[in-house]
Amino acid sequence: MFNFHWNTFLHLTRKIHIHIGRRCQSTRSNETISNSASWSTMLMTAGFTCCFVSILDDKVVTYTMVSGSSMQPCLNPIGSKCNDRVLIDRSPKRNFKKLKRGELVIYRTTRNPDEVNIKRLVALEGDTVTTLGYKNRSVLVPTGHCWVEGDNHRFSDDSNVVGPVPLGLISGRATHIIYPPSRWESICRRFPHSRVKLNPCEEDTVSHLPDVICGIS
């Protein structure tokens, strides 16, 4: 029984071989070579592009959709038809010194590592923050940490709830709104001057920034 099947199988494969062979013979040898080369080149190009995009996405620049109301009125303002898409610059991932107060950053939350939030970076290490509803009235941000807050405090799950966030969790900063086209603009740095006392060892780089516009209060 087995033999029979095996033989038919062999026979079939031989048939297929002959078939393929004939097709190859029918075309000119030059053409076949160039054809096969173009196939492998195409595959390689596809792989190359995928890898290039994934590295670009992970290390240089990417874009993401913002959902939720915690950054109103800066992102997703009331009355906008669709969620904003923002451009993310990945350079803070490599060099944490490049982070500046007042920028929007994206970071993995401390409660759930699979969740990524976008918030405003309010204070860096050494600054003293007057909190809004945290267990301590005033907090000195420890080394290697930062203080992040949403503009819309009521609906924001930020440092006022979980405390200072390690800088290592930050994976990029939002620089531009790229969609919808009507809201195409670069994101403005803002800073809550009344609530943050800067680290005395550092130069003052935030005095020229406009104050944060808070959401519904």
Partner: protein
């Protein structure tokens, strides 16, 4: 061999190198360890094989992991996971800055070095967020090959 063939071969080599780099960058890496905190499991200048494919929720107690230090984001630390979220930790008194019992909060892990006397770990900075943990140590490949991924931990401190 004509010019186009050379170009093609060059393109293929470069492409393969690039694809290999990308795949390895997101899956398996080789790293050199320094510092005394994981002795005797890992000595100074040992070389290890680490993988980055484990999802955050799949880390287990006893895994040796590499994480970003919560004190300084440019430093990577290599420690052992002693407890996951919800576990209760009691100080063993040897290096105690605190005496009370602690519960590891949601989304956090408790990391400690194997060398309890000389290790800066969760006993100083507390439980760290899982988002800081990057990769898991699979094996030691130098000075001798040793599989480390599924080792049992001393369960005296949890």
């Amino acid at each position: 061999m004509n010019t186009s063939k050379i170009w093609q071969r060059m393109f293929h080599t470069l492409g393969a190198a690039f694809i290999g780099y990308t795949v390895l960058d997101s899956s398996i890496q080789i790293s050199v360890f320094s510092g005394p905190s994981m002795e005797p499991t890992i000595q100074e200048n040992d070389i290890g094989l680490v993988e980055k494919l484990t999802p955050y929720k799949k880390f287990q107690r006893g895994d040796i992991v590499i994480a970003t230090s919560p004190d300084n984001p440019s430093i990577q630390i290599c420690k052992r996971i002693l407890a996951l979220e919800g576990d209760r930790i009691t100080s063993d008194g040897s290096y105690a800055l605190w005496r009370e019992k602690r519960v590891v909060p949601r989304g956090h892990v408790w990391l400690e070095g194997d060398n309890k006397d000389n290790s800066t770990d969760s006993r100083q900075f507390g439980a760290i967020p899982l988002g800081l943990v990057h990769c898991r140590l699979l094996a030691k490949i130098s000075p001798k090959v040793e599989w480390l991924a599924t080792s049992n931990i001393p369960v005296d401190s949890s």
